[in-house]
């Protein structure tokens, strides 16, 4: 029982990441009708926003006055962090410690800008082109983005720490009456889950309760009709692309402490997120979220030793197997609408 609960929890953070990426993919697909293979790269760039900010905060210079002498008797100069100099000792230390959450503020404008540039500069020209062309050009873009990151940050994963306060783990078992240490769960993953829930809720509320969201939803359902009403749907769709980029970017920022960012994490997540979108149903936002969590949890159950003993290697392929079964039995996915991408 406790093992099952533990896997359920473990599945949540991966599921959250899948859900957030799949949500953005679906928004882009539903509004713009574009299949964006570069969406994983946006997630990756988000993670590198966190890396960048913590690097900026760690910038230092040597003190002008020696703080003592080293063992050879030469004067010793200490590294002084710029942020400590500018914001004071304690505030500076706090900022460095909290660099990942602070990256959110930094990442939002960056990601929205990247989204805008991508849509206006590239994707816009592909609305009328076949889906194959859209896939190919965004695939090329994904390679370019990941190689640019690799050029600047190297090929190795860069560990990025969560704030000191969240580095511990939370003993769930005790709370639920199990033995101590039966179910322990890192705080940061809890925060990641809560954060994802917040963003998902925010996106849905935005679409549900604002006029802007209403138009976008109508556009997703029937683009031509909304266009006929004289509403400038293209401008709104550009904004949606920015929002989708921000959602994926934030998912990446907060994921940095869970999994040290590397340049190919975008591609790794993208393939799975596509599978998530297809399982959830192309063009269905609730489907994307549901399938994201479902597959994340399934994956974590499949990696239990009890399961692996019966079906070796199942953890590696469970998501693909589920996707194939779903696509063959329910071609529209769990919550897909009729007529989306059907020939």
């Amino acid at each position: 029982m406790d093992a099952i609960l533990l896997q359920l929890l473990n599945g949540l953070d991966k599921g959250s990441a899948y859900a957030l990426i799949a949500l953005g993919l679906t928004l882009i697909f539903g509004t713009l009708g574009v299949v964006n293979f570069a969406h994983g790269a946006i997630f990756m760039i988000g993670a590198f926003c966190a890396v960048t900010l913590s690097k900026i905060f760690s910038l230092s210079h040597l003190a002008s006055e020696p703080s003592g002498t080293d063992f050879l008797g030469k004067p010793k100069y200490e590294d002084i962090l710029y942020i400590k100099e500018w914001f004071g000792e304690s505030a500076g230390a706090w900022m460095l410690d909290w660099s990942v959450p602070l990256s959110i503020l930094f990442a939002i404008p960056v990601m929205i800008a990247i989204g805008f540039i991508m849509e206006r500069g590239l994707i816009k020209h592909f609305y009328k082109r076949p889906h194959a062309d859209q896939i190919l050009v965004t695939f090329g873009l994904a390679i370019v983005l990941q190689e640019v990151i690799k050029y600047f940050y190297g090929a190795n994963p860069i560990p990025t720490a969560a704030p000191e306060a969240f580095r511990g783990s939370f003993d769930f078992g005790v709370l639920l009456g199990f033995d101590p240490n039966a179910i322990i769960y890192p705080y940061w993953r809890l925060i990641y889950f809560a954060f994802s829930a917040l963003i998902i809720g925010g996106v849905f509320a935005f679409l549900q309760f604002t006029t802007f969201g209403m138009v976008v939803r109508a556009g997703m359902a029937d683009r031509e009709t909304v266009g006929l009403l004289g509403i400038n749907i293209d401008k709104r769709f550009t904004i949606m692309f920015g929002i989708a980029a921000a959602v994926a970017g934030l998912a990446g920022v907060m994921y940095a402490p869970i999994n040290s960012p590397n340049y190919h994490m975008g591609m790794d997540f993208l393939v799975l997120s596509f599978v998530v979108v297809v399982v959830g149903g192309m063009g269905s936002l609730p489907g994307a979220v549901l399938a994201g969590f479902l597959l994340g949890i399934l994956e974590s159950f499949a990696s239990m030793n009890e399961v692996k003993n019966i079906l070796p290697g199942i953890d590696q392929i469970i998501i693909y197997v589920v996707a194939i079964i779903i696509l063959l039995t329910r071609p529209r996915g769990l919550m897909g609408r009729k007529g989306v991408m059907e020939e």
Partner: protein, 396 residues
């Protein structure tokens, strides 16, 4: 001749001539000159040209003719490689059984994957093939380690049984004793040309593959595949069942990929899972598109182009760049080298990605179409004085 019309025969002979003379044609610079780094006439690279040529020719039968965009064809290449290495471990170092088995296994594999994936079309098909390829890749790395030897990759060793080989059989892949890595070198002044057994075996098979692809293109079957791309609805209402047509195209292209994989393993007897990764599948898509999807010559050109530039770009480092631009003033030289640096050496993939985008954006028809456009431009210039209204004769 050979059941081809004049034009196709011409193309085939041209490719055959180029393939035969490649060791000479691709080595235009003397071996000791500074330009020797641009030579491509050494066996290892030429083998890659023709092997990936085979891969792309096969992929083109699926993507170019039917329009089904598969993102999983590297899986068949990988399966072919594994089968070939196993054949060389168990049966014989002779490459014939290895190559035959790699084609058969890849064919069977593609029947299964194709049967499932082709139940959907469009983007769903792409994602399904992608999922299958990733699944194969993950399996090769994990559970199937006894077969694939996981991360290390599958290799041959002296202790392998090789039941068909006698005591004195060569310990390197060979064709009835002629080892794949054996070569004759011709020295002409400061030029040096290498003719290797492995390359000519690959080139021969590439020509066979190319010939078969021409026959398919010109056949009623090829016509049906183009009809699938054009209008499936009309096909159904014309009494034609599209499923077996697409499946046949899928399996044929899978077998081509298997052949390519088998040859890769025959030239260098090892097989690793990274050959199955989806970026590898993306590469064959790029080769086909860059050359010109749906054209005969396109995939061969695309494969050669990509593999050549991969090789050249990977070799260029900052020293080479400084050598090139040394005639410039120092500041400018450093500046230019800094600009180019990210795109060469280890940055080849960046160039590849950019190329991918540029081709899709500006030249969706690929090099062949680009060439035709240029050709038309010249022809029009020439014929302009005679036909003042610029009307050209109707296309044949």
């Amino acid at each position: 001749m050979l059941g081809l019309n004049k034009k196709d025969l011409g193309v085939l002979l041209l490719v055959a001539l180029l393939a035969l003379a490649a060791p000479i044609l691709l080595n235009p610079f003397p071996a000791d000159s500074g330009m020797a780094q641009f030579n491509a006439g050494y066996p290892d690279l030429m083998q890659r040209f023709v092997i990936f040529g085979i891969f792309a020719i096969g992929y083109n039968i699926l993507f170019g003719l039917t329009g089904y965009l598969s993102f999983g064809h590297a899986a068949f290449l990988g399966v072919g490689s594994y089968s070939a290495v196993w054949m060389m471990k168990l049966l014989s170092m002779n490459v014939i059984p290895a190559i035959v088995l790699s084609v058969i296994v890849a064919g069977l594999f593609s029947v299964v994957i194709g049967y499932v994936s082709l139940r959907r079309s469009g983007i769903y098909f792409s994602i399904l093939t992608l999922a299958f390829a990733q699944m194969s890749f993950n399996l090769a790395y994990s559970v199937l380690t006894p077969i694939t030897n996981g991360e290390t990759g599958l290799q041959i060793s002296l202790s392998d049984p090789r039941v068909l080989d006698g005591a004195n059989a060569p310990s390197y892949p060979n064709l009835f004793g002629a080892q794949m890595n054996s070569a004759a070198t011709l020295e002409l002044g400061s030029w040096s040309f290498t003719f290797s057994v492995g390359y000519y075996l690959c080139a021969f098979l590439m020509l066979v593959a190319f010939y078969i692809s021409i026959r398919i293109f010109r056949s009623p079957f090829g016509l049906m595949l183009r009809a699938v791309k054009s209008n499936q609805q009309r096909m159904n209402y014309t009494g034609l069942n599209t499923k077996p047509y697409t499946l046949a195209a899928f399996v044929i292209s899978g077998m081509y990929a298997g052949l390519a994989g088998g040859l890769l393993a025959s030239m260098d007897p090892l097989a690793g899972a990274e050959r199955m990764q989806w970026t590898a599948s993306g590469e064959v898509v790029l080769m086909t598109i860059l050359g010109g999807a749906g054209t005969l010559l396109g995939p061969v050109l695309g494969a050669g182009f990509i593999k050549y530039f991969e090789n050249i770009f990977s070799k260029i480092n900052d020293n080479v760049l400084h050598g090139w631009f040394s005639f410039m003033p120092d500041g400018l030289e450093d500046f230019i080298v800094t600009i180019i640096h990210p795109f060469v050496g280890k940055g080849w993939h960046l160039t590849l990605g950019l190329l991918f985008m540029l081709v899709v954006i500006f030249l969706p028809g690929g090099l062949v179409e680009g060439g035709q456009r240029i050709g038309r431009m010249f022809r029009r210039k020439k014929s302009d004085p005679n036909t003042p209204d610029g009307e050209t004769t109707p296309a044949e």
